[in-house]
Symmetry: none
Subunit: 375 residues, 2 copies
């Protein structure tokens, strides 16, 4: 690993200092360049909205050690300078109407794993949900995640118990790639029980975070993290969520960023589905049950029609009213003459005589010597 | 039972002849009277759209025997002449845009049971669903139906296996009243296994049909029957339904007739919930899980909720800021002088003096000798 250059050190310094997004800081960097802004901040000359927040830590330049630490863990810092920066997805933050200073794109992303971040997130769906997933929730998560992965989609999630873990495991199980977005440093296994899972994710996909190595998880970081999951995903699926749920926060971020949101229904008797039902009922999410439903929301692809209708189509569909009435008037077994059919069907006998041969053409009735019968 | 009079015989004759609805026949009856129309039809002089359909059966006048038969079964014919005719529910058919001749209100209804049809259907919810209900579906049906019945609502359904039967049984279990709408004559137990259930429904509620006694069930009669369930209900709940389901047809009728439709979600792995999920997903139904959700959809239509807040808001909508402020500054009861209103509203007194007469024009305030008060 070569020594980091000054620009990367400046990005690392500002990322660590900001501890999350700052729209004003991002705007300053875009206008004046990362080196100039970093220099201003170090010298206490930075006057942006973030100034007071930065001032307290401005003297703490851990950039070099943070970069060394993430490199030792097999990771790196990805910045807007890099080709792999997911610039296209993060543009969505520019469309936000009212937004606080922290409602912005990440300053930079700390990344563990060898895949390119832009390639991995190009076709991606976020799958999120409750830590207290039911067996049903884990089953549906597995179905949807593995189908999406088999179809070449990256799955993005957190790293929590329940739905998050089931989504990652399902994707790994079919040899797909996932991205885990953490609310702590990528060198910290959180939760600890998922250390091995995070290792496997990093081997085939990426573990990423806005926060520098060593950062501990905190509630506000989980909420900010949800914003990153939503931004990097083409759409969000909530598989199970309680009435009050972090997944609903991720879904709200997806809507703010103009991403479609799907929610999986479940038994109305299940507490783990109440949040999903609430979101569907309130129009915050569209009901989805399969990867196909998800892709109908998220995919600019898939010209494939819903063929379930064809599977269930019955022969009588598309018949005129007369023809249906005449067919129905024929007994299930045995034969019937047109006059009797006319009386039973309430259709004039001449129209019955016209309908019967058409029904024969449809393969629905057969003429016999004694009259007509169903085929 | 007294002898039927000529008018009832005429209704019975036309009901049996039409074998369902006919908008043109209903219109002719409304214009010329039932006796005159029946006479025209008998004489082959009827020229409406239904003429050819009626012609096949015009010679079959079974009115007297049909009325005798339904009377023997403990039933009667309810016609638009009768006080108990559910006229206001059936008005919804007048609002249909494009409609075929059979997309109309019933000509008359054959009824088994002693309750008044109008009273029983005044506050009613239709609960429908698949014959192949799961244990979950039967459980949720039971919960919703018994809660609605306990709250004084009539439940309307078919008489099929599965959701229909579970709904009736749940209501009977809590001493409520149900209406079963059949696709055959009310004297025929269909399905035969529900003979005892239908008997119990008739004892506390009603078993009704558009079709005269003796009529056998047929596919097109089930579809037409769904229309009657939808029309007599303030709203429809679909508990479980397969991908292609008669319940979806009932729901479609409810929407055509401007009734709210709710659908209960279930596991996405359950075939019995696919139709409900489809309807929710396509915006054909709102997700409901409890009787409370159902009443949130259906209740306001019947004024059973306290909707004074909504009415109040509507009244104030469109008022200028001054007018709203002035109105709200008036006490809920008692009078107030313009100077006091000005102080309370934070509006200059000359503008208060200008606003009060405008509010009077809106019917919101009244002048008195001592000042102004809310209307």
């Amino acid at each position: 690993m070569s020594e980091p250059d000054d620009r990367r050190l400046a990005w690392a310094y500002l990322s660590t200092l900001a501890q999350g997004a700052s729209r004003s800081l991002s705007a300053a960097i875009a206008e004046r360049g990362v080196l100039d802004v970093a220099e201003s901040v170090r010298a206490g000359r930075y006057g942006g909205e973030l100034a007071s927040r930065l001032a307290a830590r401005a003297h703490l330049d851990t950039a070099a050690s943070d970069l060394a630490r993430v490199a030792r863990a097999g990771g790196r810092l990805v910045t807007p300078d890099d080709d792999e920066w997911p610039a296209w997805q993060l543009l969505a933050f520019d469309t936000l109407g009212t937004a606080t200073d922290t409602d912005g794109p990440p300053i930079a992303l700390w990344v563990w794993g060898e895949r390119r971040l832009d390639e991995l997130t190009e076709r991606s769906v976020g799958i999120v949900g409750t830590r207290a997933a039911s067996g049903y929730g884990e089953h549906v998560t597995t179905e949807i995640a593995s189908d999406l992965a088999s179809d070449g989609w990256t799955v993005i999630s957190g790293a929590a118990f329940g739905v998050d873990a089931a989504a990652h495991r399902a994707v790994l199980g079919v040899g797909g790639a996932t991205v885990a977005v953490l609310a702590c440093g990528v060198d910290r296994a959180y939760p600890a029980a998922h250390a091995r899972l995070l290792q496997r994710i990093a081997e085939t996909g990426l573990v990423i975070s806005e926060y520098p190595p060593g950062t501990t998880p905190a509630r506000y970081r989980f909420l900010a993290r949800n914003r990153v999951i939503a931004a990097l995903s083409a759409g969000i699926v909530v598989v199970e969520a309680g009435w009050r749920s972090g997944a609903r926060n991720t879904a709200a971020w997806a809507r703010r960023l103009s991403r479609p949101v799907g929610a999986v229904p479940g038994p109305v008797t299940s507490a783990a589905s109440q949040g999903c039902h609430r979101m569907i009922r309130e129009g915050e999410a569209r009901l989805v049950g399969t990867a196909r439903d998800v892709l109908e929301e998220c995919g600019p692809l898939l010209g494939c029609e819903d063929d379930r209708d064809a599977l269930f189509r019955r022969d009588l569909d598309g018949l005129s009213g007369d023809m249906t009435a005449v067919y129905e008037a024929l007994p299930a077994s045995g034969v019937c003459e047109p006059a009797a059919v006319a009386e039973s069907a309430g259709v004039p006998v001449d129209r019955v005589r016209a309908a019967l041969p058409l029904l024969e053409l449809e393969g629905l009735v057969l003429p016999t010597d004694e009259g007509w019968r169903r085929a």
